[in-house]
Symmetry: D2
Subunit: 472 residues, 4 copies
């Protein structure tokens, strides 16, 4: 954390400007802070450039300047940024993160009256003043990027670029948190539009589905057309400023039964479902599209709004469920095979060993044999054992009181329950690599969502009786 | 501040429920606070009702509940509220203001690390934790009202109803401030749409212009149609959730010269202007429509966005100015007539006295004579004197470094200058009552907006040379 | 019909140009025809102007010119026309009607093969050639006015101006018929859009409702707003090229019973109807808006499409009916009072005389007494008699096998039946002047529309049993 | 033309029904006609079915039935039709063509007064009556298919299916002509919307571009995306009832020079053009999409409307031209090589022979050598000769006074001139097969369009001086 030598030489050159700038608005730029900002190896910007960038950012955040003018400056700055190198951008983020912090003295000055006012009528106004003191110049700086038409897109991209650096550069956390906080207000689901996406939607939008689909890769335009056919539904949340950019989208198949496998749903040649007979809505793919929106969650609201919409359109729908991957199972089993084997009683273990043609089953035996899992028939002891492991993985393997599997965590936090494990649900290479081809149905039982959700917050995992039967 | 007797009797009944509720989420409801909430005369809600309302609100704000469910609860609550009496609503506001405050202990726990982390890489994360601690349950409570379709309208109306009570009931300030803070994010001009309003706009929207016009009352549909004629322009800012509700609107006439009087602009029988020859855009009326948005300002951005739009449509436009009322002049002169007279030199004072037929002019003489101001001819000493007073009122009469006249304050803070005083500019009863019929042109000189704006922030008032000539 | 003297002098000057023009395309302009065109008193255009207008019109209709260029010429011509006087326009119409007729020789050349080809495979092609021979240059001339954006409006207005002249100037009939024929294709209901009109519709559109309402005058914006309230429905047919111009519109009230009087429906202060309980849709006003569309009928389709739309929205609706005026009754009774009195038997006639305080009732007595009709009570012989006359007028007074009352004719030709006569249904001056205040309900019994309509084509008038009871 | 035996047996069974139907409206169905209809081998419909279909069609066309009801019947009939076999449909077309002809007697009755009224004021009304007599029940029959939402699509498809049968079955001509006549009114460009198509257009629409592109096959979604990039323009005409169905579309590249070859325009990897510098708009592909609209022309209007639109958007555009294929050249040269060779003078012919390594050039030599045309360098005598042939083919080879090449015919009839021949303009297999890879620029010189168009109508072909130089 030692300032490089050039800073020792240059910090005095930097400060005059910075000092002057600090008189504008509420910006503070002390010698220490600027030194801190610059104290890393591989600086990309020269002191002169740093001064210039800092002055530009201060101009954007200047509270004396109108919002329109500030927005104009932000747009000008965004042009510089677009042309900057990755390392130059990183310097820029540090300036944004560290040079536009709230004013400590103001905070201290507001805090004491606030604490004193507790339980008096003055508590409210004192609370307000404290919160205002905490509102950072950084907030205004970022807000002004939202003023020009492409500004929201700019900020989303900026955060997406920033995120991978957070682990190694803690000083960026303040900027990241500021962005997350602004995004959670701006992208509040209350202000998003739920829109159906179909084959009449703009090609530029559908192209994004192909690009963003995270669960079952879309292989091209015929594949996506199949998923948007009249017997399917696809919904996304949209922000008014990003009209052709789905923030999240869900693909739904309308069937007459809970499906066991994904391939019939992705089969472009399959006959269209008879919507008049549909009783079951299957959410078979949910994809977030914006890396920059990490921490802002839409999935829960999306599913609930889509359920409402579907119920209005199709009165016969009774069952709402998913057909979901189990992305972490195989990697998890690789590390936990031994302890899973330990859970078997002697008799079962012997049967398993016999079926594998060994005397006693080791973790290595198990994992080697599992490579041929797709060939196992219904009665195979190994198949039974792998399904027991999967059931355990889903519902018993918790971290921080929550399931380790991210998909399980997501659906259960929405109030769903683990309904069924489907052997051979996804025979693709990806499916096998993730979970030996197994898939999961999560059931959204509308009458029990709140109950399950409340239980889940206390780490109680809701499973069907069929799932319970699979437990060791 | 004494709790009424029934509270003494009832507080224990209240608390069990409240205590239970306080375990849900971050809500705190101590005996003292609730007692405080209730310690006023004329309570409208019984203890039992209070408990019920509080529990309902806690249910809305419950962080364990999904946003969709929270929004549903908020909508249910809004139905109760709509049916409530004014006094019942006031009780409800107090609960919202006082029972959903941030957690003091959390704030204290976050503050110390924050102060300690100054100038270290941990400053950012510490800042974030402090800000999160300050995020009140009240914020979440209010956000959930925005989830259902009419919720934003509900919150705007709630604040409009609340505002008149703030002076007498300081305990509502926290709620008011929370609403203002949320509104300034939700109604950030970056997310508003600038839309032209014309005679093809929805009747329901145009009806709102009639209702909201604040400057020159719209006398009916023929009047508003004249203002929306093809030779006029009218623009408003709209929020995506309130599509037919202009938040602010401005009426523009396109002329070939700076106008001296308002009546030709409002004359429904006047010939249409020749847009091909228009050199001058006159903003002759700007009206905010939402009382509930007090403190959230759009006017500056509106004018600048409209100027840009007009310049694109009409390449010949050179001058952008207003024709504005001077609402406070006459009331102000009523109190300051004497000191104004004192500013005259002896000779002028004699001439003024002679023209009024008195020996020496008193404030009373002056004000009595001013009642006939409209009859004064160009050379009249009284007319000259009244215009000098008006010029003084506009540019020299400051409070807190800003002009006392609200219209002057608004335009000058946008970077305009005081351009011209128009005798007889508004001959209506309202115009005479406000300013003896005088009107003002404020000029938006696009090249000097930032300069004037910066000067204005230092209490330097920009005036034209013609205005300077009018000063005493 | 003698050509005025100037024509004798000028026809030779006219003809060279005309002769030349006639070589262009299929235009024929013989000396006789042009002489005929000009043979009337009060010509507004000089020979030179006539030549010029004719040449311009020939330029528009020129088949050698592209549709875009022809449309451009039509637009240029429309500017001349807009500035022309009424008499000049009349000259212009005569040129359009007479100088662009089909070519007689072509028709004759096509007719003979057509007749010869009957019952052979050549009948089809021969029919085609005959029809092509009949397609007049006038058709192309008019079509080219539809090419430019305001052209359709231009043609509608032209026909509206032309119609009053048809009775006195038969030579305009060809032009009128050509327009009617084109309009019936262009305004085929298959290509019109049924659109709901409500208070969110454009003000410019709603202004047209006020202007066009033909049945119950709209008194202003509050009145029209009441008719567009959420508990009402209003639908119109729109042409894609005239997006804010309803071609016809119908106003509907949703009630729980068949209404007896119009005033509750027009009462702006009346409480809103409870749509959840509505069983009855009342069409209380249908207005055509475009005089220029005379002969092109929409009313039947409008009512049927609206019925379908309402049934989808309100499943409980059972009854579809009108509350209609009886515009011609009083004028008719003025002429037929004697013959109506003759229909009474002696006893009834005596009772009627007694109630009027005369010995024997004459037509004059009757009509004089009827002036006080609104004061008559339920049992009054005169009231009974007037209602019998009205029933007779509606269902027995035919001309050409159809009811003389235009409203009756319209609804019965759609398949409705005369359901009920409502004494005091319209107490306005207009209502009294038309029908002594009586109104009629026509019932659209969806199961019997086709049956009634077929009977009506054979002059069988469908009435309810209550109406039958009123017959003499 | 002999009725098959079953008709001899069955015609009496048929006629009772037909006779009854003929009393409805203006339908005539004589024994002879029906016999004619059925007198062909391979009837697909039994007599009973024929009777049924005829009765259904008569029900659709019934003038006693409302348009809404008629439209309903038409929709019901369309369901039967959709399920019918190709041969059954052919029977159905014959019924539509022959059984709904106009009434000869009415026509005769109207013709005589019309002829007598020539040059009298009665000419107009007489003309009207004659035209009404010619309006066939077939017109009403077809119009009623346009009443239901998918009806226009139905009729377009019906005609597309019908067209291939016209050559062998003349009796269908009447139906075809009736459809063409209706379509030219319904699809009059005056009522079509010019719409830009870009990458934000619906995927379902863009899929149709891929499907319909007639000039340069679209290879997939990346190819079409390249053609819809921001530096390109694509426009189509749309009918309000077929909102996602372009009737015709044109693809435009914006360049700074007249292009010589198509491949740079279709190169997905090429850099985007700089629109600010564009001086030249190139129409490089125009495709009609609806076989059923044969005879209804849009191309001329499309190009002119697009030119206007582009001039408004890009003020610097000076040149409007095409880069077009020459589809029939090679086939034509195959037949005319000898006569082309005869046009050469002796010296040139010797040089050509020498370059081909033969003593005297025969047609066969020439065509054989031309197979290697792409390898020829600029100075090659064969290349020069082939270009001369192409120039001759384009501008001298006429049929009926018009160029034999359909593309030349189209652009020249719009007023364009042949500007330049581009050797190696289209190196694709298709391009070589059509024209040895040559392409043509047609220039739309806006100031001379009308002049060239008028000349073209007199068979004068407009060519540039460069093209003139290529003539033999």
């Amino acid at each position: 954390m030692n300032p490089p030598t050039w800073l020792a030489r240059n910090v005095s050159k930097l400060l005059p400007t910075a000092g002057k700038a600090s008189t504008v608005g509420a910006l503070r730029c002390t010698q220490e802070r600027l030194a801190t900002t610059l104290s890393r190896k591989g600086e990309a910007l020269s002191p002169r450039q740093l001064r210039r960038v800092l002055a530009d950012l201060q101009g954007v955040a200047d509270s004396q300047v109108s919002e329109v003018e500030g927005g104009q400056r932000a747009m000008d700055f965004s042009r510089w940024y677009e042309a900057a190198t990755s390392a130059q951008r990183c310097d820029c983020w540090l300036l944004m993160s560290e040079q536009f912090a709230p004013d400590l003295q103001k905070i201290q000055a507001a805090r004491e009256p606030y604490e004193a006012a507790q339980n008096t009528p003055d508590a409210g106004p004192a609370e307000i003043r404290l919160r205002q003191a905490l509102a950072s110049p950084r907030t205004r700086l970022l807000q002004r990027f939202a003023v020009f038409p492409q500004g929201l897109r700019f900020l989303l991209d900026l955060r997406a670029q920033l995120l991978p650096h957070l682990k190694t550069e803690k000083r960026l956390l303040a900027l990241d948190s500021e962005l997350e906080s602004l995004f959670s207000t701006w992208f509040d689901v209350a202000f998003l539009e739920l829109r159906r996406i179909n084959w009449d939607s703009p090609a530029s939008l559908i192209e994004k589905l192909i690009q963003y689909e995270a669960v079952h890769d879309i292989r091209g335009w015929n594949d996506v057309k199949n998923r948007l056919d009249p017997d399917r539904r696809c919904y996304g949340f949209f922000h008014p400023q990003l009209p052709n950019e789905p923030l999240i989208f869900v693909e739904v198949a309308l069937l007459d039964d809970l499906p066991q496998a994904i391939s019939p749903l992705l089969d472009e040649a399959a006959a269209a479902a008879d919507l008049a007979k549909a009783t079951t809505a299957i959410f078979y793919s949910i994809s977030n599209t914006q890396t920059g929106l990490r921490g802002v969650s839409f999935g829960d609201s999306l599913i609930k709004r889509v359920v409402e919409t579907l119920k209005t359109e199709f009165a016969r729908l009774k069952t709402f469920a998913t057909l979901s991957p189990m992305p972490g199972f195989r990697a998890w089993l690789g590390k936990n095979a031994s302890s899973m084997l330990d859970k078997l009683n002697a008799k079962t273990r012997v049967a398993l060993a016999r079926s594998l043609g060994v005397e006693t089953v080791t973790a290595a035996d198990l994992l080697a044999a599992a490579e041929q899992a797709l060939a196992l028939d219904t009665k195979s002891p190994l198949r039974r054992f792998l399904m027991q492991c999967a059931a355990h993985y889903l519902s018993r393997e918790l971290a921080g009181g929550k399931p380790v599997d991210p998909v399980t965590r997501f659906h259960l936090s929405n109030g769903a329950r683990i309904e069924r494990l489907n052997w051979g649900g996804d025979l693709s290479a990806k499916g096998f690599k993730q979970s030996y081809g197994m898939m999961v149905n999560y059931l959204y039982d509308l009458k029990r969502l709140d109950k399950y959700r409340a239980q889940f917050s206390k780490s109680k995992i809701a499973v069907s009786s069929a799932m319970a039967d699979l437990e060791f």
